[in-house]
């Protein structure tokens, strides 16, 4: 093999290179010149090793043996469930992984974990694809070319030797060594870093996340003086004020917040709380509010300032928007039961102001508590990437170890700065931008393939245990750090056990902790630290002195791709964004008045300029967005995300570091089709049917069943109720639904629903069985937003069944509208006749063209062929399992559908409506319950509870 970079001399060499790219292990063999004798030897070896290849190589740290005999406890057809955790930006969300015959298939929330409570978010649901992703790294790279593990070990040895070499100038060992990681809450990882830092006193650790929360951390430091965290319990609050907040959708602990919040939203079950939201662009937290006020980013500062003046200094109201006074009065009226939450995009001073407001409102200990920070080294500022890049450009960095972060994609300067570093090693699960920019790329095992731990938002430690052997090989982060120390590789599990030796002394404790997934008693201790007086003083951030000319550009993480890490996951790419329903693209979200003024329509391309940074991208009109405020979603336009995610959408990270005024010009005569699963701005007034019913709390108190139409005479002639002892039904509480889409992804994973891709979505052929319909009411400038999950209603009088000529869709005795794929000939009449339009047709062989391996599919659910109709089955496979379990154990059939299990707010309840004690029966008896499109006479088994808004009478609507 010639040295890399030298031109290949022969065709054979050329083909060798291609071969080596795919099988880096062959490099040593191919580097020798081939004579006839050697060639024959190789051929013989290849022949002989054909059988060997089937054997399991085992891993260095575990003596795994391939399953010659069935593993104990694995019953074919039954799932095995193991607890672990999904970590995003440091914070853990406990999950349970369901395996089928040893293959991870489906993820559920871990009910024992306080950040999950049994629910999951979209990203955790989609983790299964990341695990099987064929684009993951398969071997180490050196300067972008495949290399071997021994070479890598040698390089690390060299790096260590260089770092250890005592300097002439007497600096510490390790001077010039930098470790860059994301936010860390993992005690074991923290310990490993400590050890490295101890061995190399000159080394520096940098924590950095593309979507960071350092404003919050610094705000807490400002307010309390020591590193603490706020643990909110929105369920205790009667009045909440969300200031451009991510309380319910992405803040650490958002699943538990959403659960607690939603528990107070249905007036039938509880006294309703009241949520005010003030924000420039609609967020899920904002659209869940009873009153949503729109404020530009400049106005937000003013609002915070005036509010703190009202609440802290008790100033009389003067100026500001006219809703401010009643909101402040409402907050004060609920002293001790009021909570204010500010999003992470506002400066530490504003954060401190809000913390001071909360203290003034007296909610501490009730609606929120102050606890020790779960972060590793919370005192170290985390936003230190800029400092690192400065050092790299100065030449002060000799070696950098990048652990599972991707700064090259998220900070335009980073790749260039990295060139000044003599040794750079990037650990990542795929050869992404940073891995290719660094000299060495080390494949990182997936989170489902390694041991680890991480804290949840309240500090509770979740244990991460491997769910499978590394599919593509790969190191784990703990081992990598130990390799830096030059010690022999230690199994990560030993390191983990060492950390928790005190808490889990016996193997039994360890086993129990692994089984539950959490280590009990590790929640952060509450701290009794008072608010610093200085916080009261900094508490009034001055309203921004001047508003810059032109629009304000807000950059927000994509709700599903997040900082870009989800880009190669087609489930996330094709999941409709909650409000715009856009998929496979990140158009610039513009307010309706800007669209009017510039005569822009959805999909028109504009040139976005900020200083010297410019790009071209399509626009999407976002009703309810503040005037003069445009929103770009980060995480798109990745260059090396993988087959699926590379070059999808537009990379807006450069705008984060750009300085100057923002300008938007229409690109001439240019418009592209932006794929969205909703093609019509659905103002509710234009909706012919009263499908998403809603009202106010006052109306509810007046007449609780005001949403239910006058009872129609029973059409007894046609009513035919299934007569089995069990009757499956579902109730969906629209008060609880926050539109997060976790159910949609859960349904997609559980039911092997194929992804169709951008072009097919443009042709309106997406396959989701469950969709979240979004309705706007009012003007497009300030609408109220309503979500309605829409899935197969399992009508007792199903219109689809009567029109199928071959009886491929029929009713079963338990009331399920079942679809017999094998019988379907594809007339599509059932879909035409479905008033809810929840049936999906396989126009192409979508499942066959998916990039994920077949082993990643749920074996309990048929994969549908081309030309076949499909739809929600109420998770009939889960019903069947429950029936078997009930027959075996003699207990009742307890079925939890995939959507229900994932829902953070328990909006969905499912069960036997013949059982008077079932949750679903109780909820169906609610006065708010109604059926969608009752005039169709379909008698759906899915009913909704109408949404009630708790309006403040003091605020005119």
């Amino acid at each position: 093999m010639p040295p890399v970079g030298e031109a290949p001399r022969t065709a054979i060499e050329l083909s060798d290179r291609a071969l080596v790219r795919h099988f880096p292990q062959l490099e040593t063999v191919l580097s020798h010149t081939l004579d006839r004798r050697r060639m024959l030897k190789l051929l013989g070896l290849a022949l002989a090793s054909g059988g060997v290849a089937g054997c399991d190589p085992g891993t260095p740290d575990r003596g795994f043996v391939s399953a010659v005999r069935a593993a104990e406890g694995v019953v074919p057809g039954l799932p095995n469930i193991y607890a672990t955790a999904h970590v995003r930006d440091g914070y853990a969300e406990g999950i349970l992984v369901a395996h089928q015959m040893g293959r991870p298939i489906k993820i559920e929330g871990n009910p024992e974990h306080p950040s999950s409570l049994g629910a999951t978010d979209v990203m955790a649901q989609a983790l299964v694809y990341d695990f099987y992703d064929p684009d993951r790294a398969t071997g180490p790279l050196h300067k972008g070319m495949p290399t071997s593990w021994p070479d890598l070990a040698a390089a690390m040895q060299k790096m260590r030797a260089t770092a250890m070499t005592p300097r002439a100038d007497g600096t510490h060992a390790g001077e010039g060594l930098r470790i860059l990681t994301g936010t860390i809450t993992s005690p074991t990882l923290g310990r490993a870093i400590e050890q490295v830092l101890a061995a190399f006193p000159g080394a520096v650790w940098h924590g950095w996340d593309a979507i960071g929360r350092e404003n919050v951390t610094r705000g807490l430091g400002l307010a309390y003086g020591i590193p603490v965290s706020v643990i909110a319990d929105p369920g205790q609050a009667d009045v909440l004020l969300a200031l451009d907040s991510d309380l319910l959708d992405s803040a650490p602990g958002h699943l538990s917040h959403a659960r607690a919040f939603a528990a107070r939203r249905n007036p039938v079950n509880s006294t309703m709380n009241r949520l005010y939201a003030v924000e420039p662009t609609p967020s899920l937290t904002g659209v869940a509010a009873d009153h949503r006020f729109i404020a530009t980013p400049g106005m937000m500062n003013e609002v915070i300032g005036r509010l703190s003046a009202r609440l802290l200094q008790n100033e009389a109201p003067s100026g500001g928007p006219d809703w401010l006074a009643p909101v402040a009065a409402d907050l004060r009226a609920h002293h001790g039961r009021a909570f204010v939450h500010l999003g992470p995009d506002y400066p530490p001073e504003a954060q401190a102001a809000v913390l001071a407001m909360n203290e003034a409102l007296g909610g501490r200990g009730k609606v929120f508590s102050i606890a020790e920070s779960p972060l590793y080294q919370p005192a170290v500022p985390t936003s230190t990437l800029k400092a690192l890049m400065d050092d790299m450009e100065r030449g002060a960095v000799q070696a950098v170890l990048i652990l599972d972060v991707n700064p090259a994609s998220q900070s335009p300067r980073f790749a260039a700065a990295l060139k000044h570093v003599s040794t750079s090693i990037a650990l990542s699960d795929r050869p992404h931008e940073t891995a290719l920019a660094a000299q060495w790329h080390v494949p990182l095992a997936h989170a489902m393939e390694e041991w680890g731990d991480a804290r949840g938002h309240d500090g509770t430690v979740a244990l991460i245990q491997p769910q499978a052997m590394p599919l593509y090989g790969g190191m784990n982060a703990l081992s990598a750090l130990h390799a830096c120390l030059g010690q022999s590789l230690r199994p990560a599990m030993d390191l983990l056990r060492e950390t928790w030796r005190d808490q889990l002394p016996s193997p039994r404790d360890w086993h129990d902790a692994l089984a539950t997934g959490v280590i009990t008693g590790t929640a952060s201790r509450l701290v009794d630290v008072p608010l610093r007086q200085v916080a009261m003083r900094v508490a009034s951030p001055a309203p921004s002195p001047r508003t810059p000319p032109g629009p304000v550009l807000l950059l927000r993480p994509d709700p599903y791709l997040w900082d870009g890490r989800g880009a190669n996951n087609p489930w996330l790419q094709e999941l409709p964004r909650p409000l715009s329903k856009v998929v496979w693209d990140n158009p610039l979200l513009i307010p309706p008045d800007m669209a009017q003024a510039m005569n822009l329509r959805n999909g028109d391309r504009v040139i976005l300029t900020c200083g010297t940074t410019r790009t071209q991208l399509p626009v999407w009109i976002q009703p309810g967005q503040a005037t003069g405020c445009v929103v770009g979603l980060l995480g798109w336009g990745r260059r090396h995300a993988g087959e699926t995610g590379s070059n999808v959408g537009c990379d807006l990270y450069p705008f984060r570091e750009a300085e100057g005024f923002v300008r938007i010009e229409a690109a001439r005569g240019d418009s592209i089709s932006v794929p969205s699963t909703e093609h019509h701005a659905t103002l509710i007034d234009a909706t012919p049917s009263d499908v998403a019913r809603r009202g106010t709390l006052a109306q509810f108190h007046d007449r609780p069943d005001f949403l239910v139409e006058a009872p129609t005479p029973q059409d007894t002639l046609y009513r035919r109720e299934p007569d089995a002892p069990v009757a499956w039904g579902m109730s969906i509480d629209l008060n609880a639904c926050i539109g997060c889409n976790a159910c949609v992804t859960a349904c997609q994973v559980e039911n092997n629903i194929p992804v169709v891709g951008r072009d097919e979505v443009l042709r309106q052929r997406e396959m989701h069985w469950l969709r979240i319909d979004r309705f706007y009411e009012g003007t497009e400038h300030a609408p109220d937003t309503f979500f309605q999950p829409m899935l197969c209603m399992h009508c007792e009088q199903a219109p689809c069944e009567t029109v199928c000529p071959v009886g491929a869709t029929t009713h079963d005795s338990e009331g399920l509208n079942v679809m017999v794929y094998n019988r379907c000939i594809g007339t599509k009449f059932c879909s035409n006749n479905c008033p809810y339009k929840v049936r999906r047709f396989n126009y192409f062989a979508f499942a066959a063209t998916e990039s994920r391996p077949a082993i990643s599919r749920n074996p309990d659910v048929s994969v549908r062929a081309r030309g076949v109709m499909e739809k929600c089955t109420f998770c009939v496979q889960r019903i069947a399992q429950a029936r078997i379990a009930a027959d075996r154990d003699g207990t009742g059939e307890h079925v939890v559908t995939a959507c229900q299990a994932a829902c953070p707010t328990r909006a969905i309840s499912f069960g036997d409506i013949n059982d008077p004690n079932a949750e679903v029966t109780r909820r169906k008896a609610s006065p708010l319950t109604y059926a969608a499109l009752p005039e169709q006479g379909t008698h759906p088994r899915v009913t909704y509870e109408g949404r009630i808004l708790n309006r403040n009478p003091a605020i005119p609507s």
Binding site: P805, V806, R823, F829, N832, K837, Y843
Partner: protein, 456 residues
């Protein structure tokens, strides 16, 4: 040719007085058997066949690609799951009604003028029904299993689902196509015998001999033939009504706004009559000079067909008015939203095109002068056929594009593969019709001869 401009066209002759049974037989046999001086296969036939075959080839490619790649090559999607497939099917089956109306219904009614037209009209029916019959199979996601609609004993223990209008439709179409073929064939039987007897070439003798099934024109045969033909005509007349009623019920049986209407069965019969008469006029007007049929198909025929076209256009107009009335009188807001979209939405030109072509332009036929201006009548008929196609687009696509939930609103843009399939079906129609023109007698010789009676 004085009758071409004659004022009293209603009393004009149905056959020119100069014609005798002998001359008629000579003319038709010469045409069909390719004999004599005006012996046939003119250039226009070859050009037409070439054109038809090229269209057909396009259709064959389209179908082959469809079977290989799947339904996804069409523009249909989940809100609008039916497009050109069902549209073309309904369009063709309506066109196929003309022959049956003229041949069976007016036979039962003893209208003497139908005799000159029935063979041509029935042949058109046959070709159109063939085109219609392929679409229900092509539109299936898994077309290889189309026979599951048929209740045959099978190991799966499953039958067709008889509540589905598609099953009724399957039987209606099957019955209609089979009966049309038998009726047509039974009608042509005596003429085949005549051709057999007159054929000079060996292949023609064998060809027509086999087809004639031993019909010899004996008194006994005629005694059986006449009542059987009468019974078959009496069966066909209600069958044409039932088939279009059931096609209407394909839609009326659905809960979709714009489909769910009790007037659909008669509405579809009206539409079928309109397109049936239009296609007959469309074919007859150029074929008269082209095949020298002026002595047998006179302006009086054109006049009568024009009147029928006008009548059925008025019937269709009534249905359109009732459509508007029931939408706005009825209680369903979804219907009104859909109808508003139909009137001024994306597909509004299609609605208004339908109204113009099917209702407004045919009103010109109130004037006798226009009824006798054959090019104008021909253009009106062409307009009607396009209008009927647009009407089906409007019923199928516009309704599906605006159903009850706005989140399921969609739109439909046909792809090149759907257009090529439409062209292919036209090619199939033209090819089969041209072949029939060439090899089958295009006038009912035996019936005409009995009408001519004892003219010397």
């Amino acid at each position: 040719m004085t009758a071409e401009t004659g004022a009293k066209v209603e009393d004009g002759p149905l056959i020119f007085p100069t014609e005798t049974p002998h001359s008629l037989t000579e003319h038709i046999c010469a045409t069909t058997l390719h004999e004599g001086e005006d012996g046939w296969t003119p250039l226009w036939w070859w050009l037409g066949l070439g054109f038809a075959l090229s269209l057909l080839g396009m259709g064959v490619i389209s179908v082959a690609w469809l079977f290989y790649a799947g339904l996804g090559i069409w523009g249909i999607d989940w809100p609008v799951a039916w497009g050109f497939d069902i549209l073309n099917y309904v369009w063709w089956i309506a066109i196929a009604s003309g022959g049956t109306f003229i041949s069976a219904l007016f036979f039962v009614l003893r209208a003497p003028w139908r005799t000159s037209l029935n063979r041509l009209a029935e042949s058109l029916t046959l070709c159109a029904a063939l085109c219609a019959a392929i679409f229900p199979i092509l539109h299936l996601g898994r077309p290889r299993f189309f026979y599951w609609l048929f209740p045959y004993p099978n190991t799966m223990g499953l039958w067709a689902q008889f509540r589905s209008p598609l099953v009724w439709d399957f039987f209606a179409i099957l019955a209609y196509v089979l009966c049309s073929i038998v009726f047509w064939y039974f009608g042509v039987l005596p003429d085949l015998a005549i051709l057999r007897d007159r054929a000079q070439r060996r292949w023609q003798q064998v060809f027509y001999g086999v087809l004639a099934l031993g019909f010899r024109g004996s008194g006994r045969q005629w005694r059986h033939y006449q009542p059987v033909y009468g019974v078959m005509a009496a069966l066909m007349a209600p069958l044409v009504v039932s088939v279009h009623s059931i096609v209407g019920m394909d839609f009326a049986g659905g809960a979709t706004p714009g489909w769910h209407s009790t007037q659909f069965p008669p509405f579809f019969v009206f539409g079928a009559a309109l397109s049936g008469f239009a296609i007959v006029l469309l074919a007859v007007i150029p074929l008269r000079p082209a095949m020298g049929l002026q002595p047998y198909i006179t302006p009086r025929h054109i006049n009568i067909l024009g009147c029928l076209l006008l009548t059925s256009s008025l019937c269709v107009a009534y249905a359109y008015v009732m459509d508007v009335f029931s939408t706005y009188y009825g209680p369903d807001p979804a219907d009104r939203v859909m109808f508003a979209f139909r009137l001024h939405g994306l597909y509004a030109p299609i609605y208004w095109g339908t109204i113009m072509l099917n209702i407004v332009f045919p009103q010109l036929l109130w004037w006798r002068a226009i009824r006798l201006k054959q090019p104008v009548v021909w253009l009106i008929c062409l307009g009607v056929l396009i209008g009927m196609w647009l009407e089906r687009f409007q019923i199928i696509v516009t309704s599906l594009a605006r159903t009850q939930l706005p989140s399921a609103w969609g739109q439909y843009t046909p792809t090149v593969w759907e257009w090529s399939l439409l062209c292919g079906s036209i090619g199939l129609f033209l090819t089969t019709f041209l072949l029939l023109l060439r090899f089958m007698p295009m006038l009912a010789i035996a019936e005409m001869r009995s009408m001519l009676g004892n003219r010397p």
